[in-house]
Symmetry: none
Subunit: 404 residues, 2 copies
């Protein structure tokens, strides 16, 4: 990573910051929606009341044209370079299952599979076994011995899917899959993508796990094997607290987002789901933290479902609950998304995401409404998502002057 100016300049105290992330917030206007986006169509009287006294702009999650997954998008929101700091699919799977994953650990997505006598994969999903059988099989793999310094945790997912987390000194990824990716081929040993002493040793550890797992499952039918994919970890990175001088908390009802916040060292606060419940949680703990990340899932879900009216309603629900955040306003309130989830895509989009920053010393663009199009003319311009954190610190007066 290049020089970390913000780490050099951050001040030890100052007003508090709330980062409200409406997952998948950005959208596209199209003929089928009368050329309105859900943000444009929604009735948002509370957002409208703070918008003119806010500054607006847009954020490229990774880079123009790049559609991010939730991992890179959230790392960027948290101020990390999502190209430097890669989060493997195994990590995302482990976080989504609420596992205790930390920088330095190695995680893998796993399938229970059917393997024939010759060691070939005959069914990569073992006939899509039941969640209940999955839990029984995972219990069998729980206490695999890999030496005194290595611990392994296995966690059941849906059907044939589960995740594995390896913890111990000197583990290094990424590693190539043991899953050959198609039926009829031999199960592979995992192998380093960049071979060195640490990654070779890590491959050895994981291959010992696979050997032992296959021994324990030998008599099971149809799930007598394990396939691993997306094996890797997270580089050791400075925590959010170290980089920004903030004492951060995360309010998110979905495990993956709590997990992503934990990766950078945020405290995970238990909460019920939904804007109103999460904002109530915020009110109950605001005094204990000077940075609070609040994650709203509903906007993304309706985008993934292609449900325009549902996404509008999710935005309106956030707006209706907003007075809870504004009653004792934080020093800085930022509202944005992690990426666009256009209704017409039924999936993540690559578009720049609108952002609103409301702060006493932040300035006032005088823009009437917070929408994708209005944000284009905001004074923040179009930034990289990783640049939002320095802007929020600056709006809070929490960055010293650079140079004399």
């Amino acid at each position: 990573m290049s020089r970390d100016l913000v780490r050099e300049l951050h001040l030890p105290s100052g007003p508090s910051i709330v980062l409200l992330v409406m997952d998948g917030l950005g959208d596209l206007a199209s003929a089928s929606t009368s050329f309105r986006t859900p943000l444009e169509a929604a009735r948002t009287p509370n957002l409208d009341s703070i918008c003119p006294q806010s500054i607006l702009g847009r954020l490229w999650p990774v880079a123009p044209g790049i559609t991010p997954g939730s991992g890179p998008a959230h790392l960027a929101l948290f101020g990390y370079d999502p190209i430097d700091v890669q989060v493997g699919r195994g990590v995302i799977e482990a976080l989504g299952l609420d596992m205790d994953f930390r920088p330095g650990d190695i995680a893998a997505r796993a399938n229970f599979a059917t393997i024939d006598a010759a060691g070939r994969v005959s069914d990569r999903r073992a006939g899509r076994i039941s969640d209940e059988l999955n839990r029984t099989l995972c219990a069998k793999l729980q206490d695999v011995e890999l030496g005194s310094s290595i611990t392994v945790e296995v966690r059941s997912g849906k059907s044939h899917r589960f995740a594995v987390v390896f913890r111990g000194p000197g583990l290094e990824g990424p590693l190539a899959d043991s899953d050959p990716g198609r039926e009829g081929e031999l199960v592979r040993s995992v192998a380093p993508i960049v071979p060195n002493a640490a990654s070779l040793a890590t491959a050895g550890v994981i291959n010992r796990f696979l050997t032992e797992a296959h021994a324990r499952l030998a008599d099971d039918t149809p799930a007598n094997g394990v396939l691993l994919r997306g094996i890797g970890g997270l580089p050791t990175i400075p925590s959010f607290a170290e980089r920004f001088g903030l004492h951060p908390a995360a309010i998110a009802s979905y495990p993956m987002y709590r997990g992503l916040a934990q990766l950078v060292g945020m405290t995970k606060v238990p909460t019920a789901d939904g804007a109103r419940a999460e904002f109530e949680t915020y009110r109950s703990l605001a005094a204990a933290y000077d940075f609070v990340f609040i994650h709203i899932k509903a906007t993304d879900m309706h985008g993934e479902d292609g449900n325009f009216d549902g996404k509008v309603a999710a935005i309106e629900a956030v707006d209706a609950a907003l007075p809870l955040l504004l009653r004792d306003p934080p020093g800085v309130l930022a509202i944005t998304g992690d990426h666009a989830t256009p209704v017409s895509y039924r999936g993540h989009g690559w578009q720049a995401v609108p952002v609103l920053v409301h702060a006493e010393r932040g300035g006032a663009d005088g823009i009437a409404r917070f929408t994708e199009r209005a944000a284009i003319s905001g004074s923040l311009g179009t930034l990289r998502m990783k640049e939002l954190m320095p802007v929020l610190l600056a709006a809070a007066g929490r960055l010293a002057k650079y140079g004399a």
Copy 2:
């Protein structure tokens, strides 16, 4: 530094360029100013007459969220990366006292202080001695011998403050302060922040200076000691002339800005203060240079004082004098600030700064007035400040095509 495309592509001749910097130009709209900035409130008929035939945009001095000091901001205006090329506080102090500081030199901010028999600081400011005593004491330190290849220059400031510049082959900073920062603690030796042969030798030179200085001041009361802070230099950088193929001059009435221009090799031209006087100076020498940097201080001063009307008047004074620059117009006239100095901050801001580029071949955005908000929709978009110089060269037709 990465590849310097502009240095490869610049052409040996072409129209002249004037860079008019209104220090601290950018500002914020807020409720207390009827949501107008000083640029919006000012009557600027001459700026208004060229604005529609200009291209507009905005500049981040260092990066979004980063509030720059004058040093990094001017290096960026001059086309240098203000993160790569750091200017220490000692350098800024020396430049502000109009000392002859050059790349390769090491400068320090200095205090006269009171030191007790045990070597502890009993008063870091020596009772804030008079300017006159300061000058007497500086005279005593003027001819300290540090070997045949090293020269040292001492220059009085206000009260207890002065600056020191060391010149000689192989000097390298930055070095940690000799000032312990609080009373009751021992005076320190200066020491390298990154120890290597050159920085250790430099620390040796400066510690010899301190030993000799203390010997010469031993009988003085209350100022019997010297404390150094912000000790460092500037890396050796290619000159402005080398990088851009221009023959540059600086018209600035304040020493620090003349000094910053001198760091990159500009010729410092004597001038009286104020827009009218500085533009008259420009008219008298324009033919001798093809790049002229003109620095206006008043806009920043009123911002620092929180004086909205004063900042408006300073802008109007520049506008009133503008016909002097436009009578025989340069090939390219750029008007911008080095950073924002919002009246509501009474100090430097982190915001993007508006820029106007008026050039025969530059294009015309058709924007009515040069303001922070209007600049958002200008065709230059929002750039890093260090990117302005390539734009000015291009507007002057002074850059060759890159590639075939």
